[in-house]
């Protein structure tokens, strides 16, 4: 891998749920092509996929910005959705406000944010009620 950072941008569309995950899929493919350790790629892919799904099911869509350097991958998922009023609660395993419809799609187990925390080396959630949410996920490539 060269020393230059690679940056990627994806729009996350909430209209077509069957397309959910395309951004994470694209990032996974890029990391595989760069020869990043598969175990590390898997951790990034899972964490980003959870964040991408959240932007779709909780916030009406958003965007993903990814920066890849030889040392680490940083994924920023941002949306202009309703925001998260109680972040501590949201981080609790099993806690979810997802509707029955979302559950029928296979999501809303309340494990998304805990999974993101578990699979990343660093994670930050910035959220303002009524304005939106930015989730930053960092995974060190040599971890």
């Amino acid at each position: 891998m060269s020393n230059q950072a690679i940056t990627l941008h994806y729009d996350i569309d909430a209209v077509d749920f069957s397309a959910a995950g395309e951004a994470s899929s694209g990032v996974k493919r890029t990391l595989n092509q760069l020869g990043v350790n598969p175990a590390v790629v898997k951790r990034i892919a899972i964490a980003m996929y959870e964040a991408e799904i959240n932007a779709i099911i909780h916030a009406g869509g958003g965007a993903a910005d990814v920066e890849i350097t030889p040392e680490r991958v940083e994924v920023k998922i941002s949306d202009n959705g309703p925001g998260i009023p109680d972040l501590e609660k949201a981080m609790t395993a099993g806690w979810s406000t997802a509707s029955e419809t979302v559950r029928e799609l296979g999501f809303g187990a309340g494990m998304g944010l805990p999974n993101m925390k578990r699979y990343t080396d660093d994670m930050k959630v910035e959220s303002k009620v009524g304005e939106g949410t930015v989730v930053t996920l960092i995974v060190n490539i040599n971890s």
Binding site: F17, S18, A20, G21, S24, S25, K28, P38, K42, A45, I46, Y49, E50, I53, R103, L105, G106, F107, G108, A109, G110, M111, G112, P114, N115, R118
Partner: protein
């Protein structure tokens, strides 16, 4: 450990796509309809058994490097799902058995639920 070919026999399953993985060795199984529950447990050489039928099942397996999906209770996925699985090199099976029986048969035949990070 079971080969995918043996799993097909045990479950009396149909292979919808991914014949190329029939000799693949599977060590553990996961039965779930909620994809975040699947993603909470990283395992190696897994088959995912699920009653959920949508493209996100394939996406979840793609992210987790899961190579085999078995849809239960006779559910047959649409062509878009099969096509996505083909693109990802994922084998798709369908069995008439319900989820509990499917998991039970595979457990009985030697698959475990334990993952490498458990």
């Amino acid at each position: 450990m079971l080969k995918v070919r043996e799993i097909v026999d045990i479950l009396d399953a149909q292979v919808l796509v991914g014949e190329e993985n029939l000799e693949l060795e599977i060590y553990s199984g996961c039965g779930a309809d909620l994809m975040s529950d699947v993603m909470a447990f990283v395992k190696e050489s897994v088959i995912l058994c699920t009653g959920l039928v949508n493209p996100q099942v394939v996406r979840t397996c793609e992210m987790m490097d899961i190579k085999v999906i078995c849809f239960v209770r006779g559910k047959v996925p649409g062509e878009n799902i099969v096509e996505l699985a083909r693109e990802m090199g994922i084998t798709v099976l369908t069995t008439k058995h319900p989820l509990f029986i499917t998991c039970g048969k595979l457990y009985d035949a030697g698959l475990v639920g334990k993952g490498v990070w458990d």
